[in-house]
């Protein structure tokens, strides 16, 4: 027996809609099998992982907090990936944005003004964009593989943050704990529905998604991004520059990742710590693909992946599993999403091997 695939004449509309759901179901089944293999009741474990974390207002706020950075970053990445710029260093741009934006509250905590927060947000976007600019320059000017360069810069950013928080940015009154001062009130991103934890970053995420959706669908820039991604040659004939697109894609996704970073620090953590992200920059890659690089679908995908973080925390407490279960679910989900997307463009058949000698 063998699996044969055959190109469809046109992409299947049915599977375009259905494939993310098939992927979700397959992920749940695989997760259930995994839980059973670990000696846990799979139904209870899945319930604890995916349903229980949603049963209170507090939990829904937490979901918004976790999904905000994922959506912001993934919206930026969708533009990158559509134009075939493989920026996988969003985690580094997230950290760079968070650090750049934190300069103000940490170095000038005495300055109180309603201007502090807007300046922080802008600085965050600038920081992320500048850090994204590095792999862009290297790719556009020196032909350097952006996958590897952007990823290497993640490690550099993590180490730099670690140094800053243990060194110059450490709270002098903090009993030597590696963390900065708690941000002053003016530097804290307020809650959307006080006293809920969900901060204004969630609103920014939705705005970013809708605006990007509009640009991609309704403007020449969106057309340019899509054309250059589909065929660089065709884009050149249309007068589009793939070099300029590299810069645009990295600056745009870097800025959104930086915004996500400063929102997380100013809205959720409210100080600087050696580690400020449980891998949002990498998980956002999954969000982008689960949302099939469409900014509006990315909102939904971001909520789904945000849930895996909550589920991981819940699973740790209620069934005593490592919080690594979240990354297992995330990896499985991306796997199944990619596999199921084959159904859109190809027909899959189980071919039973013909008896020898028979001519087809």
């Amino acid at each position: 027996m063998r699996l044969d695939i055959e190109k469809r004449a046109a992409p299947s509309r049915l599977f375009t809609v259905l494939s993310p759901f098939i992927a979700l179901v397959l992920t749940l089944i695989a997760g259930g099998i995994m839980f059973a293999a670990l000696g846990k009741n799979p139904f209870y474990a899945l319930y604890a992982f995916f349903i229980q974390p949603l049963n209170s207002v507090w939990a829904l706020n937490q979901l918004a907090v976790k999904s905000t950075p994922l959506i912001l970053i993934a919206v930026g990445l969708s533009v990158c990936f559509r134009s075939k710029n493989w920026n996988i260093g969003a985690e580094g741009q997230f950290i760079a944005g968070a650090m750049m934006g934190s300069i103000l509250p940490i170095m000038m905590p005495g300055w109180t003004s309603p201007l502090v927060l807007p300046i922080m947000l802008v600085l965050g976007m600038v920081g992320g964009a500048l850090y994204g600019l590095v792999p862009a320059i290297l790719k556009a000017e020196f032909n350097t593989n952006e996958i590897l360069s952007s990823l290497m810069l993640v490690y550099v950013a993590q180490l730099f943050l670690d140094w800053a928080v243990r060194g110059p940015w450490r709270d002098p009154q903090g009993f030597n704990f590696p963390q900065s001062i708690t941000f002053p009130d003016d530097a804290i991103l307020p809650s959307v529905f006080p006293p809920g934890a969900a901060h204004w970053g969630a609103v920014f995420a939705v705005i970013a998604a809708v605006a990007t959706w509009f640009v991609m669908r309704r403007t020449l820039k969106g057309f340019e991004i899509n054309v250059l991604g589909e065929s660089e040659r065709a884009g050149r004939f249309a007068g589009f520059s793939s070099r300029r697109m590299i810069y645009f894609a990295f600056l745009f996704s870097g800025a959104l990742a930086g915004l996500a970073g400063i929102c997380e620090v100013s809205g959720a953590i409210q100080q600087m710590r050696p580690v400020i992200s449980p891998g949002y920059g990498f998980t956002a890659i999954i969000v982008a693909f689960l949302g099939r690089l469409d900014p509006l679908s990315i909102i939904v995908a971001g909520l789904v992946l945000g849930l895996t973080y909550l589920g991981g925390e819940a699973a740790q407490i209620s069934i005593g599993l490592s919080d690594k279960v979240s990354s297992v679910f995330q990896g499985l989900l991306l796997f199944f999403v990619l596999g199921c997307d084959t159904l859109i463009h190809y027909r899959i058949r189980l071919a039973v091997r013909r008896p020898q000698g028979e001519v087809s």
Binding site: L3, D4, I5, E6, K7, W86, I88, L138, F142, N143, T144, N145, I147, L148, S149, L151, M152, L153, Y155, V156, L159, F160, D162, W163, R166, G167, F282, T283, I285, I286, F289, L321, S322, K324, V325, S326, S327, V328, F329, Q330, G331, L332, L334, F335, L338, G339, D341, T342, Y346, I348
Partner: protein
């Protein structure tokens, strides 16, 4: 003094071996036209499986075999998705890495802090007694010897055998290779699994030789550096070997500078290997002719056989 230099060179070699193993495996996969970004994931799965295998059997060699097998089996998931289902290779490789980091953390959860079983050095009779060279080359663990033999073997296979020529032609033009009757997908499956096995052994080296213990994410980006080494070595095993030792030297140099109390924060020294990777990539890729000549032409391209 000689003693100190020798000791430093030995640690450089130990640090370089996992990079060399993973990069050589990935090189074979890429030569067949498949870009597997899941090296980090396969490596970390190899590391945890090897550690547990060694605990379970009491023998580091059984552990290493476990690591090899786990890497190969894990890479099958990537092969099925990208080769049979023609999924995007970049994204699938990333998901392999994410899944590998998650799975290894979960499986190894109970083993953090457990003292590891170290694979001891084996002196090669006769050769090990040659002054200087004997200490430098013939008093290592078995995985080191395997890594050197692997480079020689892969070089011989790729450039001096018929099967190697077929593998390279599949990587350069899968349509023509298919038309000539070569089993494109079968060769790619085998190449990916070979890459997985090598990455698994690289992980085993980490958890049995380099630091005989299990810690989460213990690969620390080495899988990604291995990917960069393949580009650095312009898809040639011997150049990859040189690159791996250079990187080993950079990371050990950074480590030693810390030990000697150089007044640079340790975080900056630790980021040196990553920065060095970027700089080297820039230097290599600037030479467009060199990269174009050596990059397998079908690298990362999907192939659907017409039947």
């Amino acid at each position: 003094m000689t003693h100190l230099i020798l000791a430093t060179l030995l640690t450089v070699m130990t640090a370089a071996t996992p990079l060399l193993l993973a990069a050589t495996g990935e090189l074979v996969a890429e030569r067949s036209g498949v870009l597997n970004l899941g090296v980090e994931g396969m490596m970390v799965v190899g590391a945890v499986t090897a550690f547990i295998g060694a605990q379970w059997s009491g023998s580091p060699y059984v552990g290493a075999l476990f690591g090899i097998a786990a890497g190969a089996v894990f890479s099958l998931a990537f092969a099925f998705l990208t080769l049979t289902l023609v999924a995007n290779q970049v994204a699938t490789g990333l998901s392999l890495t994410i899944l590998g980091l998650g799975l290894s953390g979960m499986i190894g959860n109970g083993y953090v802090g457990t003292p590891g079983i170290e694979m001891n050095a084996v002196a090669i009779p006769g050769l090990a007694d040659i002054p200087v060279i004997g200490t430098l080359l013939f008093r290592h663990d078995v995985i080191f010897y395997v890594s050197i033999l692997l480079v020689v073997g892969v070089h011989w296979f790729l450039f001096h055998t018929r099967a190697g020529l077929q593998l390279r032609s599949i990587g350069d033009n899968h349509v023509s290779a298919h038309a000539l009757g070569m089993p494109v997908l079968r060769v790619r499956y085998l190449a990916v699994m070979f890459g997985g096995a090598c990455a698994g052994l690289a992980g085993a080296q980490l958890s049995l030789v380099y630091t005989p213990q299990w810690t989460e994410n213990m690969t620390a980006g080495r899988g990604w550096i291995a990917l960069a080494l393949v580009v650095f070595g312009s898809w040639r095993p011997v150049r990859v070997l040189i690159g791996a030792y250079l990187f080993g030297a950079v990371s050990i140099g950074a480590f030693n500078a810390q030990a000697f109390g150089v007044a640079i924060p340790s975080q900056f020294l630790s980021s040196l290997p990553y920065l060095a990777t970027v700089v080297v990539l820039v230097l290599i890729s600037q030479n467009r002719r060199l990269t174009l000549m050596n990059t397998p032409a079908c690298l990362g391209r999907p192939f659907v056989p017409d039947r």
